[in-house]
Subunit: 418 residues, 2 copies
């Protein structure tokens, strides 16, 4: 029996032994182990992440642990999520190879993925947003990734047979779905030991959320869509720490929450985290940089992401109108007027879904268990609370009033008015 025939967490030493047993990985290093360098960089909550490199090549080893590392071994979390992450990386990589790192190797027993190392100057987008760095291609790239991965996994493009087969497969990722249900759609709206916020400044705000019946009505509708509506294969954790960037490159990582859900959940995750980044900027402003220009860039990126997504998604739809997609058969939707009608209706609903999920994602990052570096890195608690309160007030309004917005420019105007 091989040494790695049952699960064990690897360390720098055992990982070398493991790599030696896997030709696709050791060949990346030209089978040379004398100058190998291994560095554990997992700062996340769920996984071990190693950079492996030598003079000839490099890759990342990501290993899922059977618990949430942030909370400790008491919060169990199936390591099977690595299987769904590798599936999603491969599927999304096929659809959008420019923005998804290549998978070299997957080992289900070891819950381990070997994949492309995104070399420096790639950094986590959120860190770039905190530092105030502009990424001129970000909206272009992210709209590309979102449009392609959502369109091609939806029933606009696919047959029912393919759809139901894949929906069934990803139903297996239920534990990760449950975690999302809890931390996004439940905990922020009730008393929970996991919740935290900038106290005492936001004590009353956190309480107000738990007493807001209209907010609870809206979050119930979004939760129901999240749990019941298999619209497309989602990344399902598409915040700004799931994206690595340089000025020229945008790479989406970490789709371990992937499942078939409502498209607006992915779009909303990205937009909501950009809005959080916007509201955090005043906390990072100083005499050298008032961040005003940067705030304008963030707003422009929010607007462009949706506008370009809309353009690209509907363009894909037009291009594949006569394909095998089950949703809108060409023999029925056979004139320009009805095509325009169904497309407008679809995109309007998707817009409102996206705004709702964006708001839900913002709220949970301020009064829920997991916070964001955008705010956490503001050391002055009073200043941080001021930024967070603006974001929270905007998110509450957006969740309740999202159906009144007809264009992304109106959302941007509303952000400015806070």
């Amino acid at each position: 029996m091989s040494k790695f025939s049952e699960f064990k967490p690897l360390n720098e030493h055992t990982l070398i032994e493991y790599i030696k047993t896997i030709p696709t990985l050791s060949s990346k290093l030209n089978n040379s182990f004398s100058d190998i360098s291994i560095k554990e960089i997992g700062d996340g909550n769920l996984n071990l992440v190693f950079i492996v490199s030598n003079s000839t090549g490099s890759f990342i080893i990501k290993q899922a642990l059977p618990y949430v590392r942030l909370v400790g071994e008491s919060w169990k979390m199936t390591k099977e999520r690595a299987y769904f992450e590798s599936l999603a990386l491969k599927e999304k990589g096929k659809l959008c190879p420019e923005h998804v790192p290549e998978v070299y190797h997957f080992d289900r027993v070891m819950s381990l993925i070997g994949m492309r190392y995104l070399e420096p100057p790639h950094i986590i987008l959120r860190k770039g947003l905190v530092a105030g760095v502009e990424y001129p291609l970000l909206a272009e790239h992210m709209s590309d990734f979102i449009a392609k991965t959502l369109f091609f996994s939806s029933l606009i493009f696919r047959s029912t047979t393919d759809h139901k087969r894949d929906v069934a497969e990803f139903c297996g990722n239920v534990e990760l779905c449950r975690l999302t249900e809890q931390v996004i759609f439940s905990d922020p709206y009730k008393v929970s030991e996991h919740n935290r916020w900038t106290s005492p400044y936001l004590d009353r705000d956190a309480e107000a959320i738990r007493e807001d019946n209209l907010l609870k009505l809206e979050i119930a509708e979004l939760k129901s869509k999240f749990c019941e509506r298999a619209q497309a294969l989602l990344h399902a954790d598409l915040h700004t720490s799931s994206v690595m960037v340089t000025r020229e490159s945008t790479q989406v990582i970490d789709p371990e929450f992937a499942f078939y859900g409502p498209m607006g959940f992915d779009i909303g995750a990205f937009l909501g985290n950009l809005i959080l980044a916007f509201f955090s900027q005043d906390g990072h402003a100083n005499q050298a940089n008032d961040r005003k220009t940067y705030k304008e860039w963030i707003l422009k990126t929010i607007e462009n992401t949706w506008t370009l997504f809309y353009y690209k998604f509907t363009k894909l739809w037009d291009e594949h109108r006569d394909g095998a997609g089950e949703a809108y058969l060409p023999e029925i939707y056979n004139n320009p007027e009805v095509q325009l009608l169904v497309q407008r209706k679809y995109m309007t609903e998707l817009f409102h879904d996206s705004l709702g999920f964006a708001a839900a994602k913002m709220i949970r990052r301020i009064v829920g268990v997991a916070h964001v570096e955008d705010f956490e890195s503001i050391t002055d608690a009073a200043k941080r609370a001021t930024c967070e309160k603006q974001a929270l007030d905007f998110a509450k309004m957006l969740l309740k009033e999202r159906r009144k917005f007809e264009a992304i420019s109106e959302v941007v105007s509303a952000i400015r008015q806070i």
Copy 2:
């Protein structure tokens, strides 16, 4: 190797041999085969159905064939549907044993179910409706069946873990879902060799449906819900030929289309077929019976079915408010005002879904492939067409205007006004 270790369609002779190999079936006959009687009664499109009886007992044997019998062997249809039918019968039988026949035996290889024989005077409800027979307990019983089977398989009652496991299982019934997508949500709205209608009277009406952009917009929304929204375990073919009745008993049969879909599809199937029965009555009126009283009874049954369903479903919800259901956690929905708000919103959406699906079910029975005996038994084509046109006009209005109705009494008033 046993004689029945691979699939073969049974006949009266081979069925006896088969029964002898199955103790749970032969014991129903007290192991006596000398006085056995076997009668094939399958008048449906998809299956062989045998009544097996002797002096001591009886049962039904239902065997799925790998094609749609109505069309012939050219229209393939997986016999695996028998597996999903037996699963659904068992699951729904647990939830509502009063209205679901007991399953005695299931054989996946032979695609064969052994189940309770619903002895005379049980007849197919549709035949009773054509004959003008009142069933005083029908609304009470059907509201019971629908409320229990939908509520207990929804996320209002269940955990996400149970829900996703069962959703995945029933994704396997994809071929039957595809058949529904085609015959209900697609074919009636396009030119299809399968479509038929009372020609020439309804030629222009059938054409008008294929040219009605607003109708196509609405049917797209319903189709998307049917394909994507896993709200509860549906019967998914709950028309009036899937119900057997006496004055005292109501039994729901034939859930071979079962899958996780939108609740309104089941409610709408039943209501829509009652409305078809209503509009067919003028075609059955004669000097001895003008059917006026009977039409009032149908309208009352439509109204009572929804009203009782609403009452029973929300009562179950109130009773299980503190249970394991994922959708509305008691720690969040913790005051009477918010409980009322979410319940009203949920039931209003369900009402409009039900009306939409009812309309879709009506339209397809008039201009699609499969018609109903309610109309087919009206031999005078002109008279039949008059009845069908009233039903069709009502259904088109209902599909487009369903969101304007606030109560079932308003729907009944609208039916009267045609």
